[in-house]
C-alpha cells in the first residue's frame, strides 16, 4: 500500500521521512554521507557484471539484452489458457508464467468435493498429462521458458512438464521450466501448503537434486520474498526471509552430498516492486550484493555466474487499490520503472483490474505495453545502472544492506527459517505488521491516493470489466477427467502409484517416480494423495 511515513509541519513541508524498512531519509545528501556509511566503489559496487554485482549481473545491462517479460496467465480449462498463452506470445511476451486453479495447487482433482466452486477459477485446472498436452500445444518449449506458479505439488508439475515436452518431441535437456516450488513462503503467506514442514522441504530438495542431474535448463525453485511482502513484511524483511528460505533449501540439498556450487546457480527469486521507489531500488541493489557475498563467503561458491541473484522483480499487487482502479495503470508504470532502474532481469506487472478480478485481455496487454514502453521508448536500455554514484542511492543501498542483515540475524537467532516457520515466529511478526500498517493507512499515516487522500468520487466508481467465470469449464474438466480414468491403463497407473508410495516412504528421490506416473496419466489428485497418505498434512501453529 502506501510507501513511507511523512511527518509534516503545518505548512505541509516535510519534516521527516521514514521508509517502511525503518530508514530515515535526509533532505540533502552529499559526499560526506558516503564517507559516513563507509562507501567504497570497489567493494560495495564493482563494475557492472563484476562481483558483488550490486550494479548489474551483466556488464552492459539492458544494452545487451532487454528484460524478459512474463505476465502471469492462466484460467479456466487448458484450452482457454493455451489461447491466452498464444495471444501473449503473439504480442511479444517472451516467457510464460502459468497460473493454476486452487484445487490443482492443493493437489485435488477437479471432481474432488474439496474442489467445489474453485475449478478453473484463479488459474487453469490441471488433472493429468492430458491437460498439459492441451495447455502447451503449439508452444515452442525449447524457446519459451515457463514459470509454473505452484508450490506444494511443484514436484508433480515439474515431472508433468517434462513428460509433456517429451510427448511433443523436445528433449528434456532443452526445456526450461521454473516451478515456483517455494513451500516455506506458502507457510508464511499465500497459504497453499499441504504437507508438514520437514517433508515439504524434502520435496523441494528432491526436485532441485533431480533438476541438477536431469533437467539442465530448468530452475527448480523460485524463492519468493514477494508473497511474504504481500502478507505484511517490509522490504528489508522480504529479502531477509527470501535469503533465509534459500539457505534452508541449500542445506537440504547439501545434506544429500551435493556441492552448493553444483546447484545454487539454479535458484531464482521472485521479489516485489511496490512501495517507495528509492527504497525498492536500494533493496534490489543491496540484495544482489548480499546474495553474491553470502554464497561466496559462507558457502565457498566460486564460479561467477553462480553468484548471480537471478529472478523476477515485479508484480506489485499490494500496491494496487480497488479505489479509482485506473490509478493502478500509473502505479504499475512507476513500479516497473523501479524494477528497470534496479536492473531487473525478468519482470511482470500486476494489471490495474487485479484488485477485482483476473485480468481481462485488455488489462493484461496494458501491463505488457507498459513494460515494453520502458524498454523501447523512454530510454531504460541506454546505460547500465544509471543511478550509480548518487550520494543518496549509494547511502541508502548501504543502509538497506545493514537492515537486511539485521533481519536475517533475527531469523538465525530463533534457529533458522524452518524453525521460524514451524513455530509461527515469522507468521506472527508479519501479521502484526500487516495490522499496524493497515491501521496506519486507515488513520492516514501512510498516504494512498484515491484511498485516504484525493478520495472524492471513489465511491461507486469502478470502471472494471469483470473476468467471467464460466461454470461450463467445470463440466468440461470433469467430463474429460472421467473419460481419462476410463481410457488409460489403470493397472499400470496403480502399479506406478504404488512405486511412488514406496519411494516416498523410503526417502528416495520421488522425481523419477513422478515422471513415470505422469507419463501413464496418473492424476494430480492421485499423486498428491500418495504424499498425503505418507506425509500427512501440516498443522498451522496458532499465532494469536
Amino acid at each position: 500500500m502506501g510507501v513511507a511515513k511523512y511527518i509534516k509541519n503545518e505548512k505541509d513541508a516535510i519534516k521527516e521521512v521514514i521508509y517502511q524498512s525503518g530508514i530515515k531519509v535526509k533532505p540533502v545528501y552529499t559526499p560526506k554521507d558516503l564517507e559516513d556509511v563507509g562507501f567504497d566503489y570497489g567493494s560495495d559496487l564493482g563494475d557492472p557484471g563484476e562481483y558483488p554485482f550490486t550494479r548489474n549481473l551483466h556488464p552492459q545491462g539492458y544494452r545487451s539484452r532487454a528484460w524478459t517479460t512474463r505476465q502471469y496467465t492462466g484460467f479456466g480449462t487448458p484450452q482457454e489458457t493455451n489461447e491466452r498463452f498464444k495471444l501473449m506470445i503473439s504480442h511479444g511476451q517472451t516467457g510464460l508464467n502459468v497460473a493454476f486453479d486452487l484445487p490443482t495447487q492443493m493437489g485435488y482433482d477437479s471432481d474432488d468435493p474439496m474442489a467445489l466452486g474453485e475449478v478453473g477459477r484463479v488459474g487453469m485446472a490441471i488433472n493429468s498429462l492430458h491437460d498439459f498436452e492441451i495447455a502447451f500445444e503449439g508452444i515452442p518449449l525449447d524457446r519459451i521458458g515457463s514459470g509454473l506458479t505452484i508450490n506444494a505439488v511443484a514436484s508433480i508439475m515439474l515431472a508433468m512438464y517434462q513428460a509433456t515436452a517429451e510427448k511433443y518431441g523436445y528433449a528434456k535437456e532443452k526445456i526450461s521450466a521454473t516451478p515456483q516450488n517455494d513451500i516455506l513462503k506458502e507457510m508464511i503467506g499465500r497459504g497453499a501448503w499441504i504437507f508438514p514442514v520437514e517433508q515439504a522441504v524434502r520435496l523441494v530438495g528432491d526436485s532441485i537434486e533431480y533438476s541438477v542431474k536431469e533437467l539442465p535448463r530448468c530452475n527448480p525453485v523460485s524463492i519468493c520474498g514477494y508473497h511474504i511482502r504481500e502478507s505484511g513484511a517490509n522490504p528489508a524483511q522480504e529479502i531477509a526471509c527470501a535469503f533465509e528460505i534459500a539457505k534452508a533449501y541449500i542445506e537440504n540439498v547439501q545434506s544429500r552430498g551435493l556441492a552448493v556450487e553444483d546447484f545454487v546457480g539454479r535458484f531464482s527469486f521472485n521479489l516485489n516492486v511496490f512501495g517507495n521507489l528509492w527504497e525498492q531500488i536500494a533493496k534490489f541493489r543491496a540484495a544482489r550484493k548480499l546474495w553474491a557475498r553470502m554464497l561466496k563467503e559462507e558457502y565457498g561458491v566460486q564460479e561467477k555466474k553462480k553468484l548471480f541473484l537471478r529472478g523476477l522483480f515485479g508484480g506489485g499487487g499490494s500496491g494496487l487499490t480497488k479505489e479509482q482502479p485506473e490509478n493502478n495503470i500509473m502505479r504499475g508504470a512507476f513500479y516497473a520503472l523501479g524494477a528497470a532502474l534496479s536492473g531487473a532481469q525478468t519482470t511482470a506487472l500486476c494489471s490495474f483490474d487485479e484488485a477485482y478480478t483476473i485480468p481481462t485481455p485488455r488489462a493484461a496487454l496494458l501491463s505488457l505495453r507498459t513494460l515494453e514502453i520502458l524498454m523501447d521508448e523512454v530510454g531504460l536500455r541506454d546505460t547500465v545502472d544509471p543511478l550509480a554514484g548518487s550520494y543518496f542511492i549509494e547511502t541508502l543501498t548501504k543502509q538497506m544492506e545493514a537492515k537486511i542483515q539485521d533481519e536475517m540475524k533475527q531469523i538465525q537467532d530463533v534457529g533458522g527459517m524452518v524453525h521460524a516457520v514451524a513455530t509461527g515466529f515469522i507468521q506472527r511478526k508479519v501479521a502484526q505488521q500487516a495490522y499496524e500498517y493497515e491501521s496506519g493507512i486507515q488513520k492516514g499515516e501512510y498516504i494512498k491516493v484515491g484511498v485516504n487522500k484525493y478520495a472524492e468520487g471513489s465511491e461507486g466508481q469502478t470502471d472494471v470489466d469483470l473476468h467471467e467465470y464460466n461454470e461450463q469449464w467445470v463440466d468440461t474438466q470433469v467430463a474429460s477427467l472421467k473419460a481419462l480414468r476410463r481410457t488409460r491403463d489403470n493397472r499400470d497407473v496403480q502399479r506406478l502409484l504404488k512405486d511412488l508410495e514406496t519411494a516416498a516412504r523410503d526417502g528416495k528421490n520421488v522425481m523419477p517416480f513422478l515422471v513415470d506416473c505422469c507419463r501413464a496419466y496418473a492424476t494430480v489428485g492421485e499423486m498428491a494423495g500418495v504424499f498425503r497418505e505418507v506425509f500427512g498434512e501440516w498443522q498451522e501453529p496458532s499465532i494469536f
Partner: protein, 132 residues
C-alpha cells in the same frame, strides 16, 4: 451494562490461502476487546459450523478472496440451520464485488465488509449485530 466479551469465530473456508485480511481483522477485533477464534486455513464449511457450535460464538465471520463467496455462504447458512444455530449472525469480508452485496444480504448474511473497510466500521457493525 457490562456484558461478557463478544466472541467471534473467523473462518477461512475453502482452498484459498490469502489470510492477511483474516489475520488483520482478527487482530483488530481483539484490540477492540472481543474474543477471537481463528480457524486457520483450508477449512470446510462443516468444520466451521462445528467450531461455531463447540465454541458457542456470538458471531461467525468468513474471509473469502477466491470469488466463491455466494456458494460458500449459501452452504454455510443451510448447514447452520441444520445444526439449529441459524440465530448466530454471519458476516463476510474479502474480495466481494459490489453487485454481490445485496445477493449476500438476501441469503441472510448480516454484514458484508469488502476489502478496505475500516476496522472501526467492522467493529461497530459486529457490536451492533451481536446485540440484536
Amino acid at each position: 451494562m457490562t456484558k461478557t466479551k463478544i466472541k467471534v469465530l473467523i473462518g477461512k473456508p475453502g482452498l484459498d490461502g490469502h489470510d492477511r485480511g483474516a489475520k488483520v481483522t482478527a487482530l483488530a477485533l481483539r484490540d477492540a476487546g472481543m474474543e477471537v477464534i481463528y480457524t486457520g486455513l483450508h477449512q470446510t464449511v462443516e468444520q466451521i459450523v462445528r467450531a461455531a457450535v463447540q465454541e458457542a460464538v456470538d458471531v461467525v465471520g468468513l474471509s473469502i478472496m477466491s470469488g466463491a463467496h455466494l456458494p460458500i455462504c449459501q452452504k454455510l447458512l443451510e448447514m447452520m440451520k441444520g445444526e439449529g444455530i441459524e440465530e448466530i449472525p454471519v458476516v463476510v469480508g474479502g474480495v466481494i464485488p459490489k453487485q454481490d452485496i445485496p445477493k449476500l444480504n438476501k441469503l441472510g448474511i448480516a454484514g458484508v465488509f469488502p476489502g478496505g473497510t475500516h476496522f472501526g466500521q467492522i467493529v461497530d457493525s459486529i457490536r451492533e449485530i451481536a446485540k440484536s
